[in-house]
Assembly symmetry: C2
Homo-oligomer: 195 residues x 2
DNA sequence: AAGCAGTATATCATGATGATATAGAATATG
DNA sequence: CATATTCTATATCATCATGATATACTGCTT
């Protein structure tokens, strides 16, 4: 199978709900999607041009609400069709890249304090992420039954919560192992990840 | 900060242990590193050429053991230095992209059976991954104290185990939520992920 | 002898990243 | 009211990454 431009479908999916400018699209992605798929301007604007050329979206001048003039994009029936086809496909790519694991993998090049500090950094960062996503989760739970879309969003938030908790659990175990302490094996007092 | 070519350091890190050909490097990465950072030939060969040009590695004809003639690469002192500098840096990039979450996010476009099947696919895939990594883990535990490098490798394997278990836990919860069943909240009989 | 697995290097089009350039509008500060 | 800062908005670029394909030789099987 050829390499696929996922940005196309993210944009179509967002435009399926409402008309947006490139800038709006970026903001929406940052808030709701960036947790599991990041997209930058360098991908958004060229893709929008491509979508216009293929008549999957149409571009029109935005009646400037505030700030400079916008280019507003709307999805076409053709675009809606392509979007739906994509969502129907079972294929689901997955990319994960963790520089921390690379550096740990080559960890014998540096003192263990470096590796421990690295793990500590990682943990602190993801404690923040977990708190943030749990706030999202709390807000969503209140409106979970008002709209089916909220449930789908909730599922992605739940995913983040599980994964961040796994990160924290791993960090604790890894620190204990590196510090040479025993007693991680019984694993009975493992943190439950609640913040 | 400018964009950094991580492949450079993966190659340097592997060559720091032993001389390898481009093909060997690819195999090593696939076995030991691809779980947290994948690299293809399209990245390896151009990077090797760049490393030679910068005198971080040297290329020499391999005395063909089997198959066609090899180009064998060795790290230089300059390369070793650069590698160590990189490992020392606290910076640790992280990319995660999950197409399944994108498709779930736009899940209202398709019937729920589609979404449930998608989650089931995801779960099956990662049950396989978990089994594989737990086999690795078992093998490593037997030699954990024979070499410090084994411990660092073990940490990366442990990470995978935690994350795959989190995936499976999430999949169960997500399926229950989509199927409309209550009773996921108490969360007392949550699978512990053992396979 | 033919076919197939594996070994080995290399390249290409497309996609993604991360930074930067440009510039007008809104808001705050003195 | 002038100035600075932030926000809005579009766009582009070099570099890196992806995934597929091309080429060709070796060793094994049937």
């Amino acid at each position: 199978m050829p390499k696929e431009n996922t940005t196309v479908y993210i944009i179509l999916g967002l435009l399926n709900h409402e008309d947006l400018s490139g800038y709006d699209i970026k903001k929406k992605i940052d808030v709701m999607i960036s947790g599991f798929w990041e997209v930058g301007y360098g991908q958004i604007y060229p893709t929008l041009a491509k979508l216009v050329a293929e008549e999957l979206v149409v571009k029109h001048k935005g009646t400037g609400s505030k700030g400079p003039e916008k280019n507003i994009y709307s999805i076409t029936d053709k675009g809606r069709e392509l979007l739906k086809e994509w969502v129907m496909l079972p294929e689901q790519k997955e990319y994960t890249k963790y520089e921390i694991l690379l550096k740990l993998f080559f960890g014998s090049l540096v003192p263990d304090e470096s590796n421990l500090a690295r793990i500590e950094d990682f943990k602190e960062r993801h404690i923040q992420n977990l708190q943030l996503i749990q706030m999202f989760k709390g807000n969503l739970e209140r409106v979970l039954h008002t709209d089916k879309d909220h449930l789908y969003f909730y599922l992605t938030v739940l995913f983040g919560e599980h994964v961040y908790k796994a990160y924290l659990d791993w960090a604790d175990e890894a620190k204990a192992l590196l510090a040479g302490k025993p007693g991680t094996e019984p694993n009975m007092e493992r943190s439950n990840g609640d913040v």
